[in-house]
Symmetry: C2
Subunit: 582 residues, 2 copies
């Protein structure tokens, strides 16, 4: 089989104008960006707002190996499968981060014959949305440090006399807005900024700071959750970036930078239209990383797609404890639209990995032994898949298990797994997906299963309500959403919880950051444990996004590069074509 | 008069496809990016390579005030003026940096009726080239720190055993590749990265680092000086980012990151086609800041434009000691194409400011008193303009002085200045430009002067030859290019000069970084002094760009935000239009 980029390059694509028109967009509702990308104007949303909405299918997964179990392949494959059986369909995916592309995982455009194309444009820059989020985020950071510097240089009275502006008296030890970069850059996790030499204060005020990866920016969550440009502007203005010397919150509005941040992000509000290798219209919007971010594609993209097509297939990152939990408890609430069906991606290798009998490490290749038939490992690891089926079902959302087939998989084991799933009491549908090797034709059975489940009535049941306390919401996610037995708050988190309640933020949702490699907060624990403890070490107020962000266990919000990063194989050939991207 | 953004929004523009076709590009040679921007493929250059080249006009200036004297206005205005008198013409400008846009100066699209449009797209993101340069630059930085971390964690032998890669043994105290960001962010000038807590080395190896503004990245100079994608790839591979424990240079090729950096910058090689308010085709390419960077628009853009039009008007940043010097001594050499004419922009306020009788500070408004008639200040400051005329003339390039008229200027003083210039012995042409208030019609006289000077034979004389020693080249720029009497090297610079010679880099050009607000290295010294000393505090090897970068005086490569930054006035209105951008 050819490499992903070879398949993508040799598949003829349609001009994006044709894709847009076929999908039901009018000429004035999109602007093409080159031959195969277009920015979709929110005028389309305005025109379509009273149309009935189609079915929203969220693709999630069992607990994955560090390389992922093919959720994007299945998302694209299912959309292509639905098109093959003559359904009107859109795919909605998130823009890939350059961090994993240059780091471990490679591209995020799907793979094989289930890709969004051109894959190199999706994987690199796209239409610049992540760069714009990064720029807007770092503008606020520069504004904070400039304000501290200018207010402290000659004192507050002098600052006000010079500028006519009120002194904000920002507490330099209480700045909560870090900087961001769309790379895996371990060395920027904790830094000291504003360092000066020789007693000359020309580089600002020295303080501790750090960088997160751009997808973890509150601005990315705001982009995903906004319903229009005005909502984006209002949400940006609500962001709390620091506290003053009296402990009162300072917002971007106080810094008079919220307008400029919105201007910087103005074009990001428009989803980017692309196509799959089989011409299915695909909206790409907002960012990835459901472990350390909201990690679902945007409400705006869903709102456009569901009004133009009978089926919209989207994805929530990692396992159902991660992106799907946030799709149900954060996104569905903001969107007033719940998933109509969940697809749980499972693989033989993923199930066997969850037996705990294999030593898998991020940054290392998957051992070949994981593909060898191993009935005991399959039975032992099956508990994890079963857990995810239970988890999805508790939200009231009908589920389909998609077994993403790898070329090395044995037919016998696949049939064994099918039988185990069919024997479960929850009444889930199951299909083997061969979308990777066969495109849409390899996913028609899956498509039929999804259509069947979409006919069911959904009794959508999120884990908590707005009026629940923050503590109750965190417990709901940990206990009901993960199967934990308890939460332990650090001293810091305890104080933060108290303070956020005092400041009147008790009504917000909660967004958990934890490892995606376990349903617990410890990546080494596989399978389906229960009764474990969830340690919350720190909370962050994201009042623009509308949630309290909880850092669990030792999760990091800036990844690092492995010892032999994926970037080493990337290059251009003599014709200027990209080589080594997968 | 309306604001810049109002004029821009109310002027009807042509579809960019029409502009491209009228300019002589074929349909397969460009890809539109929305309605008013297009990326121009290097296929155009290939088709046109044997065509005769038109005249290249470089717009430079006298020593400017901190707000600039209207070089971009004059560049766009002159191009429009040439079009008004039926000449075929292109403008080539640099992509604006977001630093000054959010900081002090505002937008960089020209102004009034001499703008590149849509100005908000030019000023913000454009087609993402600066973001791609930033991303490629920071990828190399992350690669360096990841390599140091993984090699040091368990020792070199373990690293090689795990990865099969040779240990590079990078000296952490001798990493020369900093990080970059396209913002004015003072607090990032000097930072400590890789900080760890509790003795757990999870954030990398602690060392001193810093951020430059993206336009100062060696990659931006490489982009401006490359002739095609292959040249870009080769130049990127030659970049020295650090030294090993034996003092030997480490390149991006050693880190195996040069290919991925090129992939990241692949689309930047294509200039962006836009239009002026009067429909003159304009190529936007590479970055600004001729004070701390190369600061000229790209060779590729010039090569396309000069083969499609009889006149190409481009600009070199700041005064003729800055961008124009680099246009002649760095760019012309790499391009094998010298300027045919130089336009020196002067203003009454700029000349009076050079009298030294006014207290002008970066970040502060220009005092009204500077616009009041003041014959003595005009006479005193005239020496600076005369100096720039002499400076341009020594390169053998015929000059035209363009007096950029401000609405407050008195007619009497303008005529006095015209007479003073006409009385000079160098035989320069002079014209008043009213391009800001009248567009191309306000620059037809200037256009005629430029056409006249372009008929002259140029005896192009750069200040130094490749075979001169680095020390001689630095002296040539300081003594002949600035009028200095001497150079003082810091101890550090002395050692660096010796080392670069030992390493075989003596053939490179030199790129000076100094204040643009004086012909000396001290921004407070106005007018046209001579015999001063130029202090070189540090040298940087830019072997990809092909020059040694010399930091003079106290110049900084990361600007800071002022106490009342321009971003405070930026916002969107209820219709989603940008307000406050000028």
């Amino acid at each position: 089989m050819q490499s992903d980029i070879e398949i993508c390059r040799t598949t003829p694509l349609q001009p994006i104008d044709d894709i847009a028109h076929q999908a039901g967009l009018q000429t004035n509702e999109f602007q093409s960006q080159g031959r195969y990308k277009a920015k979709v104007s929110l005028d389309a949303l305005h025109r379509l707002k009273d149309r009935p909405t189609g079915k929203l299918v969220v693709v999630t997964a069992m607990t994955p190996t560090p390389l992922g179990e093919g959720k994007t392949v299945t998302t694209i494959g299912l959309a292509q499968g639905l098109a093959k059986i003559n359904q009107s369909v859109f795919a909605c995916i998130r823009q890939p981060s350059m961090g994993p592309i240059f780091g471990v995982k490679g591209g995020a455009a799907g793979g094989g014959y289930a890709q969004v194309a051109p894959m190199e444009e999706l994987n690199l820059h796209l239409t610049g949305d992540i760069h714009a989020v990064t720029a807007a985020h770092n503008l606020a950071a520069a504004a904070i440090d400039a304000r501290i510097y200018h207010e402290q240089r000659n004192g507050y009275a002098d600052f006000t006399a010079r500028t006519g502006l009120k002194a904000l008296r920002i507490d330099p030890s209480h700045v909560t807005w870090k900087r961001v970069m769309d790379h895996n850059d371990r060395a920027l996790r904790m830094i000291t900024i504003g360092r000066n030499e020789d007693g000359k204060a020309v580089n600002g005020f020295e303080r501790e700071d750090g960088f997160d990866i751009s997808a973890a920016s509150e601005l990315m969550a705001i982009l995903a959750l906004s319903t229009d440009l005005n909502d984006l502007r209002q949400r940006i203005g609500r962001i709390v970036v620091a506290y003053d010397l009296d402990g009162q919150p300072i917002t971007t509005e106080d810094l008079q930078v919220a307008g400029a941040m919105t201007v910087t992000m103005k074009d990001t509000i428009q989803p980017t239209l692309m196509q799959t290798l089989e011409g299915v219209p695909t909206l790409v919007h907002a960012g990835p990383f459901a472990n350390i971010a909201h990690g679902n594609s945007s409400i705006i993209a869903d709102n456009i797609a569901t009004r133009l097509a009978d089926f919209t297939v989207t994805e929530g990152g990692f396992g159902s404890d991660m992106g799907f939990e946030k799709a149900c408890n954060i996104k569905a609430k903001a969107a007033h639209k719940h998933p109509d069906c969940a697809v749980i991606v499972a693989t033989l290798r993923g199930i066997k990995a969850n037996s705990g009998r294999y030593d898998l490490r991020p940054g290392q290749a998957i051992p070949d032994s994981l593909f060898a038939p191993d009935s005991a490992a399959l039975t032992a690891g099956f508990a994890n898949l079963q857990w995810h089926i239970d988890n999805v079902t508790q939200y009231g959302v009908p589920a389909v298990v998609a077994i993403n087939r790898f070329p090395q998989d044995s037919e016998e084991e696949l049939q064994q797994l099918m039988a185990m799933i069919k024997a479960l009491p929850q009444g889930v549908e199951v299909a083997i997906s061969e979308a990777f090797s066969r495109g849409g034709l390899g996913a028609t059975q899956l498509a039929h299963c999804v259509m069947k489940q979409c006919e069911k009535t959904v009794q959508f049941t999120p884990l908590y309500q707005s009026e629940d306390s923050l503590d109750d919401k965190l417990h709901a996610v940990a206990l009901k959403g993960y199967g934990a037995g308890s939460i332990t708050y650090s001293e810091k988190a305890t104080a933060q919880l108290k303070r956020f309640n005092e400041l009147g933020y008790g009504h917000l949702s909660v967004c958990m950051a934890k490892t995606p490699l376990s349903i617990t907060t410890n990546s080494a624990i596989k399978g389906a444990p229960s009764g474990f403890d969830v340690t919350i070490r720190e909370l962050k107020l994201c009042s623009g996004a509308g949630f309290i962000y909880a850092l669990c266990g030792s999760v990091m919000t800036m990844p690092g590069l492995p010892d032999k990063p994926a970037f080493m194989s990337l290059d251009i050939d003599e014709q200027g074509n990209i080589v080594g991207l997968s």
